[in-house]
């Protein structure tokens, strides 16, 4: 772990969260990249790559369901964990904290719709 960073360092290929697992945290990328992998069936499909300041795992915060994809480090990545309770408390105190979450989720929905249209 480097001294001047925040969060936890994951090595290349290390799994940060596993598809099908239960989780109530979401994650913010402080440094590096991660890939989102769909492991449905026998094959793996990389559905997205995320970089610095992006977040993932937010579905685990808003839904009581298992993780829909696996997320693993693409190269060395430093990730900060944010727990559900802290986030809800923060949003309750300052609803504008959710603006960026909504914006990003809206972007993702648009991307998914585009990809489905392309198929």
């Amino acid at each position: 772990m480097t001294n001047n960073s925040l969060g936890h360092v994951y090595n290349d290929g290390e799994v940060i969260l596993k598809q099908g697992s239960v989780g109530d945290c979401f994650y913010v990328i402080q440094k590096g990249m991660v890939e989102i992998v769909d492991e449905t069936g026998d094959k793996e499909t990389v559905v997205a790559k995320l970089g610095e300041t992006d977040f993932f795992g937010e579905m685990g915060i808003f839904e009581k369901d298992v993780r829909s994809c696996t997320v693993r480090a693409k190269g060395e990545a430093t990730i900060l964990t944010m727990d559900k309770r802290s986030l809800y408390k923060s949003i309750q105190k300052d609803p504008s904290l959710a603006f960026r979450l909504l914006e990003k989720m809206s972007n993702r929905l648009r991307e998914t719709t585009k990809q489905m249209g392309a198929k």
Partner: protein
Amino acid sequence: MDNNNPIEVTKDKSLIIENGSKIAVIGGGPSGSFFAYFALDFAERMGIEIQIDIYEAKNFHVAGPAGCNHCGGIVSESLVQALSAEGIVLPSNVIRRGIKSYTMHMEQGTTVIETPLREQRIASMFRGFGPLGADDVDSVSFDNYLLQLCEKKGVSLIYEKVIDLERTEVGIDVQTKTNSVSYDLVIGSVGLNPRSFSFFKKITPAFIPPETTKTYICEFKLGHELINQYFGNSMHVFLLNLKNIKFGALIPKGHYVTLVLLGNQIDKEIVDSFLNSDAVKKCFPKEIDIREISPCQCFPSINVKNARYAFSDRVVLIGDSASSKLYKNGIGAAYITAKAAAKAAIFNGVSESDFQKYYQPACTRLNRDNSIGKLIFMVTTIIQKSAVLKRGIFSMVVKEQQKETDKRRMSSVLWDTFTGSAPYTDILMRVLHPATLISLITNTIKGIFNLNNSKNDK
């Protein structure tokens, strides 16, 4: 509009932020930068084009007092998380060290309190470029980083000292030695500077500045290797029975360790008593005289009673100039007040009543929480003086840290008290939880018996 209808009230349009509005932020510390950043962000979301100028007289590229904002330099766990959710991720050239544990020193012993998720979740940094003689050209000061972030968003930085403010019929004139510009809104993020307060008093006569006390900050240049060996990624906190000192901390930062002492009117004699205590001496290599490796020291003021009436039409004071968090997390309070002022101005308006309705509640919450904070620090002072209570707390924390459990009650209370991550009200509620009290009483009674047994053994 029917003027006879008393229910229909039209808002004075000149007291609304709209396309072409101009905002001046006086002071480029964290509260000023946070305000500018969020005001532009909200305006963008609302489809309003505004101009924001930040006036800052200091040069944060210079080492020593000229580029320093006299602060302990900690970004708390809760602020790191909030900023991350906002998309503001502190880069590694700003973070001088990621903190992942607190080492608590008492006369009774030393114990380590780990972060809840065993991650580096707190950032130590320098507000300015660093202490006198600092030459780490690859590093960026926290204040400079925030200013750069604002500049990228479209804020103009004016490196000039404001020499006066004047209210006119159409706005507020901001005067520097070279210029005078009229603005629709002026933000006071001037820290605890009495001269700047006098300008704001002219345009906001009801404003009562915050009350302050003196603290102490100094840096020790130990070098990376010794810091890794003696401090690692742990911030050292001291709960010692020393006169006037409520709290002492040693914070590792790059090549330096920063000492912060909080209490009542800290002076040289009090600092010496702290540095000469065994618990502090043990933290440093024996062969080093720490006074010889201290390039910088200061006795800055901190806010101990928040300001009143910190706003009027077109004017609002934020951060330390208005309301801060007692003893801790001043940057977190800067973020809260700056964002509240930005929301009030962009979404509602810039009249005194808008700030009263939409900004003041954020300050009131901080003020109320500080009242609880005062109570907590009163209790802490009693604990500091009581060997029996300290033994009980110490024993409770040691046992909690040995267990793999989520319910580390006393550890979480101390963690949040030291880091300033949680409101004091939350901390008090956790202290008053029956399980915490029962465990504390049990450990304290055991401590008394152990003390008696060891006396009898002697």
